[in-house]
């Protein structure tokens, strides 16, 4: 059984990121899109931690804490927005939220 190298971590990270990105672009449910964004963030976190561990530099891990903080704050605000939208439109279909245009 071979060793787990940094490439494994990075592969997993980019796999997660792509899943997240595709989800953001293709899914229509706002909550799912929101979760996909979290997925992308965590993919980035994973890459940071992996590099941090392999390079023996603690900075990467510190950075992750910040990202997690931001993600938590974003989750609070984002969910609040989603609830507000739902109250207004009785729907979470993103295609119906198209006021932001000319």
């Amino acid at each position: 059984m071979s060793e787990i190298t940094i490439n494994h971590y990075l592969a997993l990270s980019s796999f997660m990121f792509v899943i997240g990105a595709v989800g953001v672009i293709t899914r229509r449910n706002a909550i799912v899109v929101f979760m996909c964004i979290e997925l992308m963030l965590n993919a980035a976190n994973l890459a940071l931690v992996a590099f941090s561990s392999f390079l023996g530099d603690v900075q990467g891990q510190v950075f992750v804490f910040f990202v997690m903080t931001v993600a938590a704050a974003e989750a609070a605000v984002g969910l609040a927005i989603i609830i507000a939208i739902f109250r207004n439109k009785q729907s979470l279909n993103i295609d119906e939220l198209n006021l932001f245009k000319w």
């Binding site: 672009i25 293709t26 993103i94 295609d95 198209n98 000319w102």
Partner: protein, 648 residues
């Protein structure tokens, strides 16, 4: 030790600020009037004090500078609020504050009951402040500040009764006319200042006049500077071709006409020419132009004054005519005589205007002298002082106007030539004629108004007292300048007092060769002038009392001349046709409809339209679906990354 003397100039400003801010809250007219007059009186007292200080010193030390603070400091260019106390400026300051104080007091009575009583006195105080800056300044820039300041006050006060009609339009139009015509003159003044700065590197009187003579500058430059400065003077002092604003300025309250448009502001041009005498004497052309314009204006205005029927208009043209005399004196190099006439004119013209105000007051704002008559019975004091003023202006021997006018005529003969003297004497005759026409029509003969309806009454003491003081000055004011051949050497104290100021000008003067005229010539010329003036006074008196049909006959005989005079030579109409209308048409048809609407607005609107057109096609890219935006971002980032990877 004299540093506090700047207060003499700044006190009226305090009066202006006080009355301007609190005036509307103060309900008692007396308080406002006393504060305003008091400020001017204190400043007058300080100038008297300075005068006595100066007179004690030896002649060479009779000038000092009081600096208040530095105003402009750019590179080597320095301008300060500093005031030059010398014989000339002090004489002017004494006239301004002295006559100004009397007119302030008179105004308390005249403006009684006016709804903007406080505003009037605030403006008057501001005017005194500006006028003092003008005459006391020790540099051209500060002088120009005062110059513009008095112009502003003149504008504000002509349009003081902005809701009243005046002739065919409103007083506001008259005010605008005065302001705009003065702009033309100010343009000349500015050009003169620029040239002076360019050639002398300073605008300080001492620097400029000190450098003249030692700096090599061609005569043509002096001519340019002189003519430019004279254009400014002609605007402010109502000379041809810029005199048209002064008759219209009569739309203001009568004390304003007396103070600004007779006694002080309009003489600012004369003062400026006298102050810059050292420059003018270097240019024979400029001097000749001044003399010719002066004498022409004098005669021209006097002839119009002959047929005017509005009491204030007669006096306005008379003022223009007298200012013409002063410029004649400047033009022939008799600067001291010009200032002497400024002083006596301030006395008797202020007196005449205030007397006219008293009459207008009594006649319930009626200004047509054809509707007066016989007022002597109703207004004994006013009629007496008016007679004194008339005698002074007409040159009755012994009165102030006689001495000053005679001095000017004598110098115009001695330095200018016989032609100036002849026209000067003809003008003096016209002066006697219109003055006594005015006096006779107003005070003598029988009333031509409805006696049962209008009951003229003498004005209150607060108005008659200044009149009496001015009348006194009009009688004795001339005795400080008695010609030498009467009382011998040194009797012309006024000239002796002022001469040191013009010493340099005298030395540089192109008249270099001084022709010695005998006193006999002087006496003969004087006698001729006296006889002519007296006979015209008598002629006017007869013509408008006993021989009324004569005036009518003359008018019928010279119908065309009469019509031309009555319409003031159609100068206003000519300006209207040649200058005003073309400008209005050009402004409307080209500047507004083409330049402004089509070119300026058109360009801006075209730009805006262009931006809108471009953006209307580009804005389609904004779909409104957040996911497409996200996709675009992702796509772009991936492409960039790809590009970076390939490149590395």
């Amino acid at each position: 030790m004299n540093d506090y003397l700047f207060l003499a100039i700044w006190l009226p400003l305090l009066g202006f600020v006080f009355n301007g801010i609190f005036g509307s809250k103060i309900k008692t007219e007396k308080i406002i009037g006393v504060i305003a007059s008091g400020a001017v009186f204190i400043s007058f007292a300080m100038f008297v004090y300075a005068f006595f200080q100066l007179i004690e010193k030896p002649v060479e030390e009779r000038s000092f500078v009081v600096t208040f603070f530095e105003w402009i400091k750019v590179g080597s260019f320095r301008v300060s609020f500093s005031y030059l106390f010398d014989q000339l400026s002090l004489t002017m300051a004494l006239i301004v504050t002295g006559v100004g104080f009397l007119i302030h007091v008179y105004s308390i009575g005249y403006m009684h009951g006016d709804k903007s009583f406080w505003r009037f006195f605030a403006y008057l105080n501001l005017f005194i402040f500006m006028m003092l800056n003008l005459v006391m300044a020790d540099n051209f820039v500060l002088m120009f500040l005062g110059w513009e300041g008095v112009g502003l006050c003149s504008y504000l006060l002509i349009g003081f009764w902005y809701d009243r009609k005046f002739e065919k339009s409103t007083t506001a139009d008259a005010a605008k006319k005065a302001f705009i015509v003065n702009r033309i003159g100010d343009f000349g003044f500015l050009v003169g200042m620029f040239l002076l700065y360019y050639y002398f590197g300073s605008l300080n009187f001492k620097d400029i006049f000190g450098a003249i003579g030692s700096v090599e500058i061609s005569k043509d430059i002096y001519t340019f500077i002189g003519l430019a400065l004279f254009l400014g003077a002609a605007g402010k002092s109502a000379q041809i071709p810029l005199y048209v604003w002064l008759p219209d300025a009569m739309a203001g309250p009568t004390p304003v006409s007396a103070l600004i448009h007779a006694a002080t502001m309009v003489t600012a041009g004369v003062y400026m020419c006298a102050r810059a005498a050292t420059i003018f004497v270097l240019s024979p052309i400029a001097m000749t132009v001044i003399a010719v314009i002066g004498i022409t204006t004098a005669m021209f205005a006097a002839s119009i004054g002959l047929v005017q029927t509005d009491i204030k208009k007669v006096l306005a043209y008379s003022t223009i005519s007298q200012l013409g005399y002063m410029f004649l004196a400047i033009g022939v190099g008799a600067f001291a005589s010009a200032i002497f006439h400024v002083m006596t004119h301030a006395f008797f013209k202020a007196l005449l205007f205030l007397g006219a105000g008293s009459v207008i007051h009594a006649m319930h704002e009626e200004q047509n002298i054809l509707k007066y008559g016989g007022l002597k019975k109703y207004m004994p004091t006013t009629s007496k002082v008016f007679l004194i003023g008339s005698l002074a202006i007409a040159g009755f021997p012994g009165f102030s106007g006689f001495f000053s006018k005679d001095e000017i005529l004598w110098h115009s003969y001695a330095n200018g030539g016989i032609i100036f003297w002849v026209i000067g004497v003809i003008t003096a005759a016209l002066t006697a004629l219109y003055t006594f026409r005015l006096f006779t029509l107003t005070f003598l003969d029988k009333p031509r108004f409805d006696v049962s309806k209008i009951h003229p009454h003498e004005s209150p003491k607060v108005m008659t007292m200044p009149l009496i003081i001015l009348a006194f000055l009009s009688i004795v004011g001339g005795f400080i300048g008695v010609p030498e051949f009467i009382f011998g050497e040194g009797s012309n104290k006024f000239a002796l007092w002022l001469d040191p100021v013009f010493e340099k000008a005298k030395i540089l003067s192109f008249h270099g060769h001084h022709i010695e005229h005998s006193h006999i010539t002087e006496l003969i010329l004087m006698s001729i002038a006296i006889i002519i003036s007296l006979s015209f006074m008598y002629f006017a008196y007869k013509m408008y009392t006993d021989k009324k049909e004569l005036a009518q006959k003359i008018a019928n005989r010279y119908k065309i001349t009469y019509a031309v005079l009555q319409n003031k030579y159609f100068v206003d109409e000519m300006y209207e046709a040649i200058i005003v209308n073309p400008i209005v048409i050009l402004s409307e048809k080209f500047l507004w409809k083409i330049n402004d609407v089509k070119i300026i607005d058109g360009f801006i609107n075209y730009l805006a339209d262009l931006v809108e057109k471009i953006s209307s096609s580009v804005k389609r890219m904004q779909f409104g679906y957040a996911q497409i935006y996200a996709f675009v971002i992702l796509f772009a980032v991936s492409l960039s990354l790809l590009f970076l990877i390939i490149n590395s």
